[in-house]
Amino acid sequence: MTTDRTETGEITVQLNGKARALPEGLTVTELLESLELNPQLVVVERNREILDRSEYAQTRVEDEDVLELVHFVGGG
């Protein structure tokens, strides 16, 4: 599927609570790669819906997405 390019080719998302500019058309797999995160150790929530790992390669990040990347840390 092709996407319409904006003039800048950039989108802005909320990533873990902070605004972040990303290239348009970026997949979740590519996003995790660019952040050097192991997809097996990350859970991705996009606009309050959890993404299945099998969807990462096909799912493109869209403008104004709210993304949460979480993992396990020490806790009681």
């Binding site: 990533l15 396990f72 840390v73 806790g75 009681g76």
Partner: protein
């Protein structure tokens, strides 16, 4: 005689555990100490929290770089959540990590005491059980709440000994015993244990297990405290199963009163 000789395994849902101690993985100074302490405790189940990844990498990496989920059953918690909605969100995120459907449900109702919101806990437990979670619910030492949590399908009910991180030990052993007497699902005392004697006293009430974090993590030597806790939990369990002598406020000599020299 070892504890295993007269004691069976701890059964929760479809799993059996040799150890009756569950430990948290928070508040350690470093991950190396955490892993050593977890191993020394003899536990087979550890709690973990779900948090945002720090994309600036100023904090430690995720716990799965240090703990092998094949070695320990991971029990994701909903710590830090104040509503059923938030807890359900965190529970789903924890399950999506892909290890299991086990969950420690914890919904706080008050920032000062960290006492649980029992209404929200029952509400969230009902939803999460329907979604297939194996819910171990943190709660107060209130019997009625414990019964409701069992009714909605929790696989274990986890009343507190005293507030989280307080180290005050079991403040109401009678309530803990009453919950244990009335519930069919395992009762795990969660929170409030401060030192080994607290763990031992807790197990002497007849409960099925103990969950602790700060008592080990905040000890001066967490690894040796973890060993002490393992021994205390075993000792308390054995003492309970052995049937203690009646307490009485009168002295009774241990040696014969007859046969003394003239």
């Amino acid at each position: 005689m070892s504890a295993e000789t007269i004691d069976g395994p701890l059964r929760i849902a479809d799993r059996e555990f040799t150890s009756r101690l569950i430990v948290g993985t928070g508040k350690y100074e470093d991950n190396e100490t955490m892993v050593k302490a977890v191993r020394a405790s003899g536990t087979e189940m550890v709690t973990v929290a779900v948090r945002r990844i720090d994309l600036d990498r100023t904090r430690e990496e995720g716990i799965l770089y240090h703990l092998d989920p094949e070695e320990f059953l991971l029990l994701p918690n909903t710590a830090g959540c104040y509503t059923a909605e938030d807890a359900i969100r965190y529970a789903r995120l924890g399950r999506a990590a892909g290890f299991s459907e086990w969950l420690k449900l914890e919904i706080i109702g008050d920032e000062t005491t960290l006492l649980p919101d029992t209404h929200a806990t029952i509400e969230a437990a009902r939803t999460l059980v329907d979604e297939g979670f194996k819910v171990m619910a943190y709660t107060t030492d209130d019997l009625i709440t414990a019964l409701r949590l069992e009714d909605v399908g929790c696989v274990a009910v986890m009343p507190l000994a005293s507030p989280i991180g307080s180290g005050l030990g079991v403040v109401n052993p009678y309530y803990i015993r009453e919950i244990k007497r009335r519930l069919s699902v395992p009762v795990i005392v969660d929170a409030g244990v401060g030192t080994a004697s607290d763990a031992c006293v807790t197990m002497e009430q007849g409960v099925d297990g103990v969950l602790m974090n700060t008592a080990i993590a905040a000890a001066e030597d967490p690894v040796s405290m973890a060993t002490a806790m393992r021994q205390a939990v075993e000792a308390g369990r054995l003492a309970f199963l052995s049937g203690r002598m009646p307490a009485r406020e009168i002295a009774v000599p241990s040696s014969p009163v007859r046969g003394m020299l003239e």
